[in-house]
């Protein structure tokens, strides 16, 4: 069996996303199955855009001399 979440942890603030969806998943209006979970979850991310941090680190790497000059910490 794949290691999908499977936890039942709920904090007072929110149900964690690795917990079983039956605990927290709210069905949308157009869903054929209407379900109200005991711990409705508020999603912290509604889009799953890839983070740009790694690209920015690469950019930083190619401009390190400039950063070094600015910081002049040596």
């Amino acid at each position: 069996m794949p290691m999908d979440g499977g936890y039942t942890i709920v904090t007072q603030d929110n149900c964690i996303s690795n917990s079983v969806p039956l605990l927290s998943y709210i069905t949308e209006n157009d869903s054929t199955l209407k379900y109200t979970p005991p711990f409705p979850r508020i999603e912290s991310r509604v889009t799953h855009a890839l983070p740009k941090d790694l690209d920015n680190i690469s950019l930083l790497e190619s401009n390190l001399d400039s950063l070094k000059t600015r910081l002049s910490l040596k």
Binding site: P21, I42, L60, K68, R70
Partner: protein, 304 residues
């Protein structure tokens, strides 16, 4: 009390639900808003839409919730701050030699410093408030393009010279977000050190309220990474693990799993909303189960 047959599977669910009911009456779940719900009310509402044959399994699942009130989690932050202080060989915890960043949400940092009574969060001379790793990267990158922002320049100078880089997360369940953040911090430190912008490498520490045994294994790839945490959950707390210990009888666990699978098949396989489809696709790409029956895939290197 509503007439729910909590104990039809002979698992002693009544006591567990009473305990949760008590916890929730003292520390209501934020998502319930101001409505005066009881746990029994919530369970009854949830059962309304589930087929009758799954009611006992659903009650068994709802009775197995591990509910963590904020008051406990705040106490954990205080304990974590104390351990951090010991690791730091310091008699008091402050921002003077630590750069504190949060995974995803800078609000965690505010909460941590408030409840752990760590002074100086807004002292910009000691604590350049970048909040998250992303903001620190943005600031460094911005400096490569502009030399007109002396305030930012000073903040970055202070930040990169801290002896400790502390990463805060409210929970580390899969370990993948924390792992990604730590990898980014290592990359930044490596670049700064190689180019002699800093003379010594700061030590990274991960602090979290809740961690899983699984996440600790994922984080094992970092040699000598101190992970300070309050609560640790192992696989006995996972419905889909062979080690699950929630129930006395294997048949109860099987029924709970059957319910989860039914829910996944009935709901997620037919789901049309784009936002959630994106989430499902990402989950499946990581090797997660097609019907999302147990929630978010924990890590892409898992083999089960």
């Amino acid at each position: 009390m509503p007439n729910l047959d909590h104990d039809s599977l002979g698992e002693g669910m009544d006591d567990r639900i009473c305990f949760l009911q008590h916890q929730l009456s003292q520390h209501p779940y934020i998502g319930w808003g101001e409505m005066p719900f009881t746990y029994n009310d919530r369970i009854e509402t949830s059962l309304e839409t589930l087929p009758k044959k799954y009611h006992s399994a659903a009650i068994s699942l709802f009775a197995s919730v591990v509910y963590l009130p904020k008051i406990w989690l705040d106490e954990i932050w205080r304990g974590v701050a104390l351990e951090l202080m010991l690791l730091n060989n310091s008699r008091k915890m402050d921002f003077k030699n630590a750069l504190i960043l949060a995974v995803d949400d800078p609000g965690i940092l505010t909460n941590f410093t408030r409840v752990a009574k760590i002074p100086g969060r807004e002292d910009s001379d000691n604590n350049p408030n970048f909040g998250t790793t992303s903001k620190l990267i943005d600031a460094l990158l911005y400096l490569t393009l502009s030399n007109n922002d002396s305030e930012l320049l000073n903040s970055v100078k202070v930040a990169v010279n801290k002896k400790w880089w502390v990463l805060l997360a409210d929970n580390v369940i899969s370990g993948s977000s924390a792992k990604n953040e730590i990898e980014k911090l290592h990359k930044i430190i490596g670049l700064l050190y190689q180019s002699q912008i800093i003379c010594s490498e700061p030590r990274i520490v991960l602090c979290t309220q809740v961690v899983t045994q699984h996440a600790l294994k994922v984080l094992d790839i970092f040699a000598n990474l101190p992970v300070i945490y309050g609560l640790k959950f192992d696989d006995t707390y996972r419905i889909n693990s062979k080690d699950c210990l929630f129930y006395k009888r294997q048949s109860t666990l099987s029924q709970v799993r059957e319910l989860c699978e039914w829910f996944g098949d009935s709901l997620f396989l037919n789901y049309s909303q784009k936002v959630f489809q994106d989430r499902l696709n990402l989950h499946r790409k990581k090797g997660g189960q097609l019907n999302y029956a147990y929630g978010w895939r924990v890590h892409d290197s898992d083999t089960g």
